[in-house]
């Protein structure tokens, strides 16, 4: 499908999320670009996961709007947001440990398919895509970390989203597993799903993402393509410290 070059799929406007006076996100404005791999970076405590929690409906923001296909998502519950086409993975993997790999994915596919057989077909296709087809009858708890991360990705994908939020999907993987995960993410993106991902490794983010948002202390300090981001003074300050740039 063709998309306008820089149309945004999701826009966050004036978003504030406070925890008892502590502003985790403060008057945030940002966009997720349609059809692209979008990245969210920032130092620890910048508010990255909070932003994901707000977009996916796990937290209700005090102020602001999250616009997705002309709808404001703020205040909707997570399952409603998933129904609309946004799904997330968790920083700490949350598989269904005592269910089989296939059943795990089928729960995701029930989002669009009400019938057992149809949802099984969809699930098997998705498992094939992430390379878990051979393990579909194993218990999710028996998978390695890498396996569980793939499973979580497969399960999210089975909901047939337009936007996939990936929260540190590559953290804790060894370089080979990380490479494989990246190529899966690219394949998902090529199939038409917009990606919005949090990852710590700057080199990966700079090479993978086409659009990057940088948070620091709950505020956006930069937004743009990797070239722009890497030259941004405030980004360099946030990552390397003020003295370094002043000197």
């Amino acid at each position: 499908m063709m998309k306008r070059a820089d149309a945004s799929l999701l826009s966050v406007r004036d978003l504030t999320m406070e925890f008892r006076g502590l502003k985790a996100l403060s008057r945030l404005d940002m966009n997720v670009m349609s059809g692209k791999v979008n990245g969210l970076i920032g130092p620890n405590g910048a508010g990255k996961t909070t932003l994901f929690n707000v977009i996916s409906g796990f937290l209700k923001p005090q102020e602001g709007r999250i616009l997705f296909e002309d709808r404001n998502l703020a205040g909707l519950r997570p399952h409603e947001i998933c129904r609309l086409g946004i799904v997330r993975t968790f920083q700490i993997v949350k598989v269904f440990p005592e269910l089989s790999v296939l059943k795990n994915v089928m729960i995701g596919s029930f989002n669009r398919h009400k019938n057992n057989k149809q949802s099984q077909e969809v699930s098997e296709k998705v498992l094939e895509m992430v390379g878990l087809a051979g393990k579909k009858n194993r218990l999710a708890s028996s998978l390695t970390l890498s396996g569980r991360k793939r499973l979580e990705l497969a399960r999210a994908l089975a909901t047939e989203p337009a936007l996939l939020l990936l929260d540190e999907t590559m953290a804790g993987l060894n370089p080979t597993e990380g490479e494989e995960m990246l190529s899966v993410i690219h394949e998902i993106n090529r199939s038409g799903v917009t990606i919005f991902m949090i990852e710590h490794m700057m080199n990966i983010m700079m090479s993978v993402c086409e659009h990057i948002v940088v948070l620091n202390y709950g505020e956006k300090i930069a937004e743009g393509n990797p070239g722009e981001i890497s030259k941004d003074r405030r980004v360099i300050e946030a990552y390397l410290g003020e003295e370094f740039t002043v000197a």
Binding site: T50, F90, K94, V95, I107, N116
Partner: protein, 330 residues
């Protein structure tokens, strides 16, 4: 995964054999043994009802006695005051159990009570209901209700034990079929996903509030359904026996012993635990409460012999996992 084992054909043969023995039991047993088996089946049924909410959906209720009590009282009061046949009263009893389940479920789930807090809330509802029942004159208050014995099919009162036996046996077969259907359906799989990780299920498009409520509604309805059987089999109901926390705990221990979240677990568990209470009560009746001590020993053995143990089973497998702080952190 225990339940999956029952799909193997040898298990089907076992079930068929057990069914055959149970169906033909009245041909070769005396009235005492029949009573023991009736009690076993009765508690197996209750355990299976509880298992729908707790074993599949992971919502451990320690107040299930109130749904059962509501069913017993509804059918009895309707019979005594309006002459409604228990055959109709049982369904209305199921509905009143269900309404109570809807009430408890709505309040607890609406306010997001999970894990320990849900358990405590259901216990509180149990205690509350008992106090109300003890003071409500319209339902006999602390005197309880006696059902005058007039044997007739319409009155659900029989001179022998055989009709009661077949009634409860068919109720057990019914609940086994219901649980099998739940387990294989999309509904049941979603309940299990909620048990395993509620946040993950919600993030995948599952309306967890609604599904938990549905699980409670189904569980409390089938629990209330068997209330009429108890009333008319025993002939006397009293808040102290129907709304007692111990009954709620008994309903809980039976499926835990036999296997949580499995179709036959509660029935098997009842065959292990219920005879102990019946037999110790029968032979050592003058030491009242002795069966509880024997239960204690058996439960200790189960904790030791079943590798995961009851407490870990409850904590690890049933309780929705506590929110990991990490996801909330920045």
């Amino acid at each position: 995964m225990k339940s999956a084992m029952f799909r193997f054909s040898y298990s089907k043969i076992m079930v068929a054999a057990a069914l055959l023995v149970l169906l033909s039991l009245p041909l070769y047993t005396g009235s005492y043994l029949m009573h023991v088996v009736i009690i076993i089946l009765f508690f197996g049924y209750l355990g299976a009802c509880w298992n729908i909410a707790a074993g599949y959906a992971g919502q451990i209720s320690l107040g299930h006695a109130i749904f059962f009590g509501a069913g017993a009282y509804t059918s009895t009061v309707l019979f005594l005051k309006a002459g409604v046949s228990p055959w109709i009263g049982m369904w209305l009893g199921g509905v009143s159990g269900m309404l109570l389940g809807l009430f408890v479920g709505y309040l607890t789930f609406r306010y997001g009570l999970k894990g320990h807090y849900f358990i405590l809330a259901t216990m509180a509802f149990g205690a509350l209901t008992k106090v109300i029942a003890l003071n409500l004159d319209a339902i006999g208050a602390a005197q309880g209700l006696i059902i005058p014995f007039k044997a007739s099919f319409v009155n659900f009162q029989f001179t022998g034990k055989t009709p009661y036996y077949y009634y409860i046996l068919f109720m057990v077969i019914g609940i086994v079929l219901v649980c099998t259907a739940v387990e294989r359906s999309r509904f049941g799989q979603i309940l299990m996903a909620i048990r395993e990780d509620e946040d993950a299920a919600e993030s995948l498009g599952v309306n967890t509030f609604m599904y938990k409520l549905l699980a409670m509604v189904l569980s409390s309805f089938v629990t209330g359904l068997v209330g009429a059987f108890y009333s008319f089999y025993i002939g006397y109901i009293h808040p102290d026996t129907l709304f007692t926390p111990f009954l709620s705990i008994q309903i809980t221990l039976i499926p835990i012993t036999g296997g949580l979240g499995s179709v036959f677990g509660p029935i098997v568990g009842s065959f292990i635990l219920s005879p102990i209470s019946e037999i110790t009560r029968g032979f050592l009746g003058k030491f009242s409460g002795l069966h509880l001590m024997v239960w204690g020993v058996v439960i200790m053995l189960i904790v030791i012999l079943i590798p995961k143990g009851i407490i870990v089973e409850i904590q690890e497998r049933l309780r929705p996992k506590p929110k990991t702080g990490e996801d909330q952190s920045l």
